[in-house]
Amino acid sequence: MDVHNKTIAQLSQGLKAGDFSSAELTKHYLDRINTSELNAFITVTDELAMEQARAADDKIIKGNAGILTGIPYAHKDIFCTNGVKTSAGSKMLDNFISPYDATVSHKLNQADLVMLGKANMDEFAMGSSNENSYYGDVKNPWNVSKIPGGSSGGSAAAVAGRLAPFATGTDTGGSIRQPASLCGITGLKPTYGRVSRYGMIAYASSLDQAGPMTQTAEDAALVLNVMAGFDEKDSTSANRDVEDYTENLNDSIKGLTIGLPKEFFSEGLDDEVANQVMAAVKEFESMGAIVKEISLPNSAYAIPTYYIVAPCECSSNLSRLDGVRYGYRCDDPKNLDDLYLRSRSEGFGEEVKRRIMIGAYALSAGYYDAYYLKAQKVRHLISDDFKKAFKQVDVIMGPVSPTTAFDLGSVKDPVSMYLADIYTLSANLAGLPGMSIPAGFSQNLPVGLQLIGDYWSESKLLNIAHQFQQQTDWHTQTPGDKS
């Protein structure tokens, strides 16, 4: 078995046993990255990685290593990293070397992890195919003519392509779960407020949440243990103890009640995807779970609601990118207005500009009540649907994405692209935790199963996913070395 197919849990054992050093492991992944055609990274931090690996090896030799000491990873380029370019996939920040670490970056450093580089992504996390990156498309390791999903497309491709044992991701409307599904890996979006947003470049503040992208649920638990926690620098982070997310992985799921929202299995869902999802549900039944049909009646409004709330917030969040203090500035501005207009017109990509304009419009005097305020009301209704549902069931299951990965360049209409997130948006609007786990293939492309849990039920979700992965081997299949 190639070392790059090992899980974090296995690598951790190998490091402790002295089967290989972190430096060797890191070098191995760096070599794979440097010969990869996936375009999964914006920046590869070779030297820093080797330095961190050697420091980790020292700790391992001295016997004061933690569980994750010396494990390499890919860091989504939305997290600020001190001294390292942090671009958020945008020309706007192509010259931005962050002078500080995001809380997540800091925590990963504290755990002696080794950053291989900064993963490619849709510009400012806006996109579902990773075709909106200033740094070019990311390719799906299972078929390089396909999209990897987005916005954490580089992270998903890096893990699926075995360029990193795990990656960080962020999920505003499905940006962890959808690429995880399309690349056949495990992705967890925690409850809003579980992971600090400090230093994570904001797209839509009330929806953004960071999480792990891994091969297995067990690995996701190990990484979440490091990422999660209250941060006084983020007022929206929850002042709530962090559990050991590995603790309940082996609990029995007998008697687990699974809710299948009928709205998630309607028109627009690819038949083969539906079949794989139902087969996975059957598997749970055979493990002793009980399945119930439920209804989330307002889920039809998730797309329009999301596409008001997120653009409104982003139109304001991205105002600081004005060409004045850092980032892209146009040549020879004639005056202040010209500086703003051209820096922003030239620095932002099409999709980002589209969302800024939608948001600025929806917040304008005279439209605010009809759009923003209305969307907030609908958001409450969507949350209420889930609250009712979780009185009847322990977990909600369904598809992550209506289709498998589509061809690069094939979806040109933005609204069609927005439909790719139809099943993932609701969890963000409600602030609930969600997961994508590998659940089969359709025409050699991975299909993911989505789990949505009640607030703060990460431990439960990981337990359910882990139990499934004890019975199935979808998550161990790899695209091979053809990438």
């Binding site: 962050s98 995001a102 929206t236 139109s315 105002s319 004005d322 202040l336 917040l363 923003y372």
Partner: protein
């Protein structure tokens, strides 16, 4: 036509917290440019605001001091606009749910008391400073001030003259210093006023179109700017024109206001609740705690000065018009309990005159309250007369030492020895027979001549009371 002026004020009081409202950077005035701006103040990608609880507590303090309703759930909003000294491209402020709701404050003008309504007061962050004249072709930006906590206090349009507006502004200025939430320094911009001014025909209910006057940094300029604006609007209306709703900048040097931007040019600020900050929840316990900590307010202090020390309404008003003035007065009273009127006269007379003449604030007075207190003791124990005490004060002001040192070194101790005074009086009577005659024939005024002669002979040190009694008995 007779016009009525209608004025409402928006006062920005900088809250005297150590750190900024949403970051840990210091707020101290006058530091090197951009040395007090951290990642949050610079608006770097990814940074988040964290509310400084001290700013909230100070805002609550103000609300309680004006008997306002405190919104125990209040919300921060983003006010979006682009400007180089606004790093995030939005200012965090409060729109629909300000921390302080309706309240009121009384002003006194020419003996009449009037209640001015306060619409609201909300928390917000200050912007940085753009400096346009430092470099050719460039504007320099200093972000030290960015994120400094402000309390914007919005009055009802209740004032009817520039004088009323000034009285109100001064009242708020006094109050914020009393309760220790703002240093009130207008030169440094800690206390700034914008005035909304309109006029209407006397008796008409509907308000006229208003202009907002900005950039006013003293009470004197506030009065001038409003009067100037009222004249301008009258001229327009009386010539049959229409006042435009606009923002006007007051230029103190040219003594004029000029248009800054019209209503049409005004930004659409696209306000919405800041998703990075949770709504502020204020518990009953916190309100009670802050209420209990509230110091004596100017009105309460005034009432106490009248009741406790028997001061006149006027004296009590003047002495409580500034916190430091009242503090100074009360320090004098600590050792001169029975001499309230004497202390009041000294603070309002000699001390205030010297401070005004030298343009010194009372808190920077070269003669401290403790020092003046000793001099007052020397007046009341007859060591020096009130007149001599003024010379002693002058020497103290010039740094020549304590009251006792000066009295001793200059030999200013009052002459209270009856024998000594008697010898001098006898000599004066003997040498001035014609004046003695005049007195005896009923010219009472001539007594002053003898007092003058005696004072001259004693360099003013004779105890005036003793001297008077002795002259009368000898001449009588």
């Amino acid at each position: 036509m007779e016009w009525e002026t209608v004025i409402g004020l928006e006062i920005h009081a900088q809250l005297s917290t150590k750190s900024k409202i949403f970051s840990a950077a210091a707020t101290q005035y006058g530091a090197e440019p951009n040395t007090q701006a951290c990642a949050v103040d610079l608006g770097l990608p990814g940074v988040l605001p964290v509310l400084n609880v001290e700013a909230v507590n100070k805002a609550i303090k103000f609300g309680l001091a004006i008997n306002a309703h405190i919104n125990q759930r209040n919300v921060f909003d983003r006010k979006n606009y682009f400007y180089p000294d606004l790093p995030k491209g939005y200012q965090i402020s409060q729109l629909d749910w300000p921390i302080v709701g309706e309240g009121e404050i009384d002003i006194t003008l020419g003996g009449d008391t009037k209640t001015i309504g306060i619409t609201r007061a909300h928390l917000e962050e200050d912007a940085g400073k753009s400096i346009h004249d430092l470099y050719n072709d460039y504007t320099a930006v200093d972000l030290n001030r960015a994120g400094t906590p402000l309390l914007e206090i919005v009055s009802d349009p209740d004032m009817r003259s520039a004088k009323e507006a000034v009285a109100y502004a001064k009242k708020i200025h006094t109050l914020v210093q009393y309760i220790g939430i703002c240093d009130g320094n207008m030169q440094e911009g800690s206390f700034r006023c914008d005035a909304n001014v309109s006029i209407r025909p006397m008796g008409q209910e509907k308000l006229g179109t208003r202009a907002e006057l900005k950039n006013i940094n003293s009470f004197k300029f506030l009065e001038r700017a409003i009067n100037l604006e009222v004249e301008r609007q009258q001229d327009i209306l009386e010539e049959g024109g229409e006042v435009a709703q606009e923002t006007r900048l007051y230029d103190a040097v040219k003594h004029e206001t000029r248009s800054m931007r019209s209503k049409e040019e005004a930004n659409d600020y696209r306000y919405f609740p800041d998703p990075d900050l949770l709504p502020v929840e204020i518990s009953d316990e916190l309100l009670d705690k802050i209420r209990a900590e509230l110091p004596e307010l100017p009105m309460e202090k005034k009432a106490r000065f009248i009741a406790e020390f028997g001061l006149s309404e006027y004296d009590a008003d003047v002495l409580t018009s500034q916190k430091y003035l009242a503090d100074y007065f009360e320090t004098l009273l600590q050792v001169n309990q029975s001499q309230a009127k004497l202390c009041a006269n000294w603070v309002m007379g000699e001390l205030s005159a010297s401070l005004n003449k030298n343009q010194i604030e009372i808190q920077d007075s070269p003669v401290s309250a403790q020092q003046l207190s000793l001099l007052i003791t020397r007046i009341s124990d007859n060591t020096v007369s009130g007149k001599i005490a003024k010379d002693v004060f002058k020497a103290m002001w010039d740094g020549e030492g304590s009251a006792d040192d000066i009295i001793k070194s200059k030999g200013l101790k009052q002459m209270t020895d009856t024998g000594e005074i008697e010898a001098i009086v006898d000599e004066i009577i003997a040498n001035n027979a014609p004046q003695v005659e005049q007195f005896k024939s009923g010219n009472e005024k001539i007594l002053g001549f003898f007092v003058g002669q005696a004072m001259q002979a004693t360099q003013g040190k004779a105890n005036p009371k003793l001297l008077n009694e002795m002259l009368r008995s000898k001449l009588g």
